[in-house]
Symmetry: C2
Subunit: 253 residues, 2 copies
């Protein structure tokens, strides 16, 4: 049975896709078989691991709406032990089509069962909203990781996120629990970053991962080569941080 | 009749709220009366101009769902000539409640008519999605400004955004036109930024504003003081860039 982890925060641009790809690849380097599920119509996780979205024959849309078997959609990434259930723009239509379907929040959960025993870890990269796609990921997952940018606005949406998680726990998925909060894009040169870090640690206490991801341009270059940071630039500060985070996630299990 | 400009991009964290606040304040400094409409349930524009969201008696939710007069909701910001129609978490409910209402995409457009003649410019800060709230802003506006971050993923969603704009133009708002694309968070030290700028100029040609907003930590500090950059740190590179952009927007009219 795979450990299923949703990467979620409705605030935009906080490092969800970057964390899903690089934490996923970091864990696959520790002899674990990992599936990355792209639940965002933007498909950044899909292109970030090197797939060409316009050439996809099938995508997660076909799993959610057309009942296509997952094994016909899942593809290998270029990284060992690391696979992806890709997304493209079709998924934007699914959010509307799901509204009228039976058990609309549980469609992803029911489909993931087909491959649950094939993987050690399954990660879900969520879009920047708390709509039906994110709810599907929160229902399919048993744990969640929340990336929080070291920026002032990052603190604003946390209450809303926690409220939504509690609603999911009481209505859709009682087993869901917070695995941890990861601070991202830390710029050690600014006071703002250290102030935000202090606030987040006050709010979340021991739920904050010890590993803090630094702002590192190599992390934003890697997706243009379609590679996780651990293969694009293994000696970079970004790669070291995500390797540390991968170890910490496995230890927290 | 006010010029109505939506700030839109479904990619998260690209600088929509930062542009809405600082372009708005920059234009209000040029003897124009400006209203900022916060259409994002996260309410970053609302807190970014210094309002306390938990203390709001009324918000844009009451205008969209409860037909409350706008003049009872709009508040002054601390900045001269600059007003806000604030948002709070209630707005997250509106996205669901709007689905079943008559002319659900035009509710904001119909309400804005009440104050159209009171302002020279009305800006709409959109959430990072292309759902009903963003559609309301695109239907109420007559022009749009698209912030694009100087990052690889920034190029990915542009096709989807242009597709949505065309759908809005043919079904909801034929007058809607692109005022311009503004490049944000430009880090002059990295090759990545200059590559993205080159790509965006190739794709959008003369629709790209000459003013490029640099990455500047003062811009991310300003919201924690509830002030636009032009009053928080008028000599900063961020303030100079948004003053330039304000002049360019007025000239392009
Ligand atoms: N630690 C980092 N250092 C530098 N750049 C980063 C870092 N993490 C992410 N980025 C860059 O910042 C941008 C936002 O990150 P990313 O796209 O992963 O966020 P997201 O939360 O998935 O965004 P969205 O809300 O649109 O899904 C991207 O261009 C990414 O390459
Ligand atoms: N030019 C800049 N330089 C440095 N930081 C910036 C700049 N522009 C915006 N920021 C910061 O980057 C983060 C993202 O910007 P902002 O919140 O304005 O983006 P957004 O597109 O409105 O995000 P969302 O998609 O969540 O609505 C914020 O913390 C903001 O303070
Ligand atoms: Mg993402
Ligand atoms: Mg915003």
């Amino acid at each position: 049975m795979a450990k299923k982890i949703a990467i979620v925060n409705q605030k935009g641009g906080v490092g969800k896709s970057t964390t899903a790809i690089n934490l996923g690849a970091g864990i696959s380097d520790l002899e674990k078989k990992v599936l990355l599920v792209d639940v965002d119509p933007q498909g950044n996780a899909t292109s970030g691991v090197g797939l060409e979205k316009s050439e996809l024959k099938h995508s997660i849309y076909d799993a959610l709406i057309n009942d296509k078997p997952l094994i016909d959609i899942i593809q290998p990434t270029g990284h060992n032990n690391f696979f992806i259930l890709p997304a493209n723009i079709d998924l934007a239509g699914a959010e509307i089509e799901l509204v009228s379907l039976m058990s609309r929040e549980s469609r992803l959960k029911n489909r993931i069962k087909e491959v649950d025993s094939d993987y050690d870890y399954i990660f879900f990269d969520c879009p920047p909203s708390l709509g039906l796609l994110t709810l599907n990921a929160l229902t399919a997952a048993d744990q969640l990781v929340v990336p929080i940018q070291c920026e002032y606005y990052a603190l604003e949406g946390l209450g809303q996120l926690m409220q939504t998680i509690e609603l999911v726990q009481s209505n859709l998925n009682p087993a869901l629990r917070l695995l941890g909060v990861v601070l991202t894009m830390n710029d050690v040169r600014t006071n703002l970053s250290s102030q935000v870090i202090e606030e987040v640690k006050k709010y979340f206490g021991k739920d904050v991962f010890n590993t803090i991801i630094p702002r590192n341009v190599r992390l934003s270059e890697a997706p243009s080569f379609g590679e996780p940071i651990v293969s694009y630039d293994p000696k970079s500060r970004g790669a070291k941080a995500y390797k540390e985070l991968a170890k910490e996630v496995i230890e927290r299990e």
